[in-house]
């Protein structure tokens, strides 16, 4: 683990993707195979294969407090300045550990003990003992493996390339039943290359539900969402259908509210998932279905490196409800097909290139999505929050509002869409506009106007306005506009009403 931590530091110190991969490959080559397998597992931030550690930020902070002797208030302040729990642990244990060497196999057995420990007090004791024992830099990465992000600019795909470059074959590297695969994502049409050869593309409707992965094996099934959350408890009817399948497999698809043989709007599904427990009444009134898009795993074998057509064929053999697919005759047809999909109540289209592989975790040009933003609004920022990781030193997350008479009411929060330079400039501006601070959040005078696009409007008890925008993203910073020119709550309400119409 000491060498792995040194390696991680070197990987962090180079911007070059190729050099990062070469560094990892060189390190892996130098290890015996069993050690290399552990190193790969840790570099992919999997502390224990197939088990959850249940060690969160609060527990880690408590362990830092106990092991370092610094009080909680100071530890919190330090964590805020540093922006990463593992790094904070390393810095605060500086000069306070025995500095012993930690082997990969020892780290694995500590993770194992953490996973097995039921009681929080026992987990805490294991962490404190570990923190006091090993080198601070090693602790930094020991904790990062638990918190799930090394923050060294090393994606899963690069680890895989390094494994290949090192000439290793690690079975099950991208095959983890009951551990979600990263989803393959589609590029928006505007960013996709020209569709030159229409015959190379397949077309499906883009459904407006919740993208999910269904894992099943011998009577057992689980469902994971895009955020890698386990949503098994929310959709019992899908789970039982998956569990009834023979063999084992992983289906990529979409959870939809379903009635009379067609998908209902996301707003209907929203009512179903708003509740923690699913009642029998709800099961009857708002049934859900899982429509299959792709098959990533079947009967002990990963299919991600098999071509689209083969995955599709085996998906149709495995699952009864599959998104209908057709061939694209010419790129001029996209417009017509899009209108038809909208008429069916769906969001738009997905184009998939023939022969393409399933590229986990990638927004790939092999999948193209065609959809129009539901709308855009000019809004004003009312609060700005410190980001995480590389954005830990800037205010990068913005809560925004529309006008309601003489006041402003919040309708959402957006993180993405601006350049780093714009975020730095806005941070300076927000610092001068700050009227109050609550931890990471600065309340700001409503002066900065943004144009945000979004995919829908939903009811929200969280905001005073009663509404929240779905998937808001910043289109541009409207330096030309003042707060007098922003949109009002009436527009938001009208958009919501329109979305309820059949």
């Amino acid at each position: 683990m000491d060498r792995l931590s040194d390696l991680a530091e070197r990987v962090a110190s180079t911007n070059s993707r190729n050099r990062k991969i070469a560094l990892v490959a060189g390190y892996l080559r130098s290890l015996p195979p069993d050690q290399a397998a552990l190193a790969v597992q840790f570099l992919r931030t999997i502390p224990v294969e197939g088990a959850k550690l249940s060690v969160g930020g609060t527990l880690l902070r408590d362990a830092i407090v106990q092991a370092s002797g610094w009080d909680l208030e100071l530890v919190r302040l330090c964590a805020r300045e540093v922006g990463d729990t593992g790094e904070t642990a390393g810095h605060l244990m500086f000069g306070r550990t025995e500095g012993r060497a930690l082997q990969l196999s020892e780290a694995a057995s500590i993770y194992q003990r953490l996973a097995m420990a039921r009681r929080t007090a026992l987990k805490l004791a294991i962490l404190v003992e570990t923190f006091k024992r090993y080198r601070p830099l090693t602790l930094r990465y020991f904790v990062k493996v638990i918190s799930g992000n090394l923050r060294i600019g090393l994606q899963d795909k690069m680890v895989r390339e390094a494994v290949e470059a090192a000439g290793l074959s690690l079975p099950g590297l991208d095959a983890r039943l009951f551990d979600p695969f990263e989803f393959m994502l589609a590029k928006p049409l505007e960013q996709a290359p020209e569709i030159a050869n229409a015959q190379d593309w397949r077309v499906e409707d883009k459904y407006d539900g919740i993208r999910a992965q269904g894992h099943f094996r011998h009577g057992e099934a689980r469902i994971f969402t895009r955020g890698m959350n386990d949503a098994t408890a929310s959709f019992p009817e899908i789970v039982s259908e998956l569990a009834a399948l023979p063999g084992d497999g992983v289906i990529d698809g979409e959870v939809l509210a379903w009635r009379d043989g067609r998908a209902l709007s996301f707003q209907m599904l929203q009512q179903r998932i708003a509740r923690k427990t699913v009642t029998a009444k709800m099961l009857a009134e708002l049934p859900v279905r899982f429509i299959g898009y792709d098959l990533l795993w079947r009967d002990g074998e990963s299919l991600t490196h098999h071509p689209l057509e083969e995955r599709r064929k085996r998906l149709e053999q495995s699952w009864p409800l599959v998104s209908p697919q057709s061939r694209l005759a010419s790129s001029g047809d996209i417009e017509t097909l899009f209108s038809e999909a909208r008429a069916r109540g769906n969001e738009g289209l997905i184009l998939k290139r023939a022969g393409s592989l399933y590229e986990t975790g990638k927004r790939s040009g092999a999948w193209i999505k065609v959809k129009r933003p539901y709308g855009s609004l000019d809004v004003v920022v009312t609060a700005a929050e410190q980001g995480h990781g590389r954005r830990a030193t800037v205010l990068s997350d913005y809560t925004f509002a529309v006008r309601d008479g003489d006041t402003f009411v919040n309708v959402g929060k957006a993180y993405s869409g601006l350049t780093d330079a714009e975020i730095r400039e806005l941070t300076r501006i927000f610092r001068t506009l700050t009227t109050g601070r609550y931890g990471r959040v600065s309340l700001v005078k409503p002066e900065v106007v943004l144009e945000v696009a979004f995919d829908g409007v939903q009811k929200s008890p969280r905001h005073k306005s009663g509404y929240a925008l779905r998937f808001p993203r910043i289109l541009q910073w409207r330096k030309d506009k003042t707060v007098d020119g922003i949109d009002g709550i009436e527009q938001v309400r009208a958009l919501y009403e329109a979305s309820l119409a059949p």
Binding site: A12, S13, T14, N15, S68, W70, L74, L77, C78, E81, V82, G83, D84, E87, T88, H91, L92, F94, G95, R151, G389, R390, R391, A392, T393, D420
Partner: protein
């Protein structure tokens, strides 16, 4: 002595003396020549010889002005007090001021570090009753490299980058860090280009005995095969360059990984002209001061940590407010 902590600087009413004032005053002590400490045109300015020489470059005299150069460790009499400049290690000429007045000793550190610098005088820790100390890096997450470790990291980074056919670029402040990096590179025999903002103070460093053999002025058109020592503001030029430029950030802030995003550098070398957390604790405890006032940076958290160690320590602003109430 009852120092007052004001917007314009620290004021000692008994001596009518300002410490590092930020606007024009009659009589000022200037701890070192960085512009957040040495600015404005004062009537009489006390400082070390090196500090005053650089101060004159930065703030040329516009009217009558008296510069009172002090030698390290040589006390002078001033309005019934004894003033002594003691080395502070921060940059060339940086000094603490010891004031002995009516049986009480006060030390104002200015910016300070305990570890010996790559260029500049090594700090002397002296006893006092009352201490005014900076706390720029007063959180226990800041740990810095020793001089020799920093030198080796700087030289190794330059050599390895040059060996890859890439251009090593060092970001360092115009006064202090820039010269320290350049000096380390020149000493190691590495071809080094220095930006004018940094090069303009090299004569002062040479006068103090530091050598910068074979350096050339920075030229944007000929980067290859040469280590570049430039100011942090120039990073975007190198990021946009068609050459393979690898940027190193030499700073106390480089102790945290988020400095990569902040500075745009890939290589972080945590070496500072300020004290790190342990140095601050060692310095404060070494002076034996019973009362400590903290200025700059993490004043509140460090004050609390010191109080937990049994020292009457206060963040300067809070202290000022309390004393107004007492009066």
């Amino acid at each position: 002595m009852q120092p007052e902590f004001l917007e314009t600087g620290i004021y000692l009413p008994e001596l009518e003396l300002w410490l590092d004032p930020r606007s024009n005053v009659a009589t000022a002590w200037v701890s070192h020549a960085h512009s957040d400490h040495a600015r404005g045109v004062h009537g009489t300015v006390f400082g070390t010889r090196e500090t005053l020489a650089i101060y004159e470059i930065r703030w040329p005299s516009e009217g009558p002005r008296v510069l009172q150069a002090m030698e390290f460790g040589q006390p002078i009499e001033f309005r019934g007090a004894r003033l002594t400049a003691l080395p502070a290690g921060h940059i060339l000429g940086a000094a603490q001021l010891r004031i002995e007045f009516q049986g009480e000793t006060l030390i104002y550190t200015g910016d300070i570090k305990l570890r010996p610098p790559l260029a500049g005088q090594t700090t002397e820790v002296a006893l006092c009753d009352r201490l005014i100390v900076e706390s720029t890096f007063g959180l226990p997450v800041y740990h810095f490299l020793d001089r020799e470790e920093a030198r080796s990291r700087i030289v190794t980074f330059a050599r390895e980058t040059l060996a890859d056919g890439a251009v090593p670029v060092f970001l360092g402040y115009a006064l202090g860090r820039g010269q320290e990096i350049a000096h380390a590179l020149c000493e190691a025999g590495i071809r080094t280009a220095i930006h004018g903002a940094i090069a303009k103070y090299i004569p002062e460093y040479e006068r103090a005995g530091y050598r910068f053999d074979g350096w050339r002025p920075y030229e944007s058109r000929s980067l290859e095969g040469t280590a570049q020592v430039v100011t942090p503001g120039m990073r975007t030029l190198f990021e946009a360059s068609s050459k393979d430029c690898r940027i190193a950030y030499v700073s106390g802030w480089a102790a945290l990984a988020n400095a990569r995003a902040r500075s745009g550098a890939s290589e972080l070398i945590p070496y500072s002209d300020h004290a790190d957390f342990e140095e601050l604790i060692e310095l404060v405890e070494g002076t034996g001061a019973r009362r400590v006032d903290l200025v700059h940076g993490y004043t509140e958290p460090l004050a609390k940590i010191l109080r937990d160690r049994g020292i009457d320590a206060r963040a300067a602003h809070a202290a000022a407010a309390r004393e107004v109430e007492d009066a």
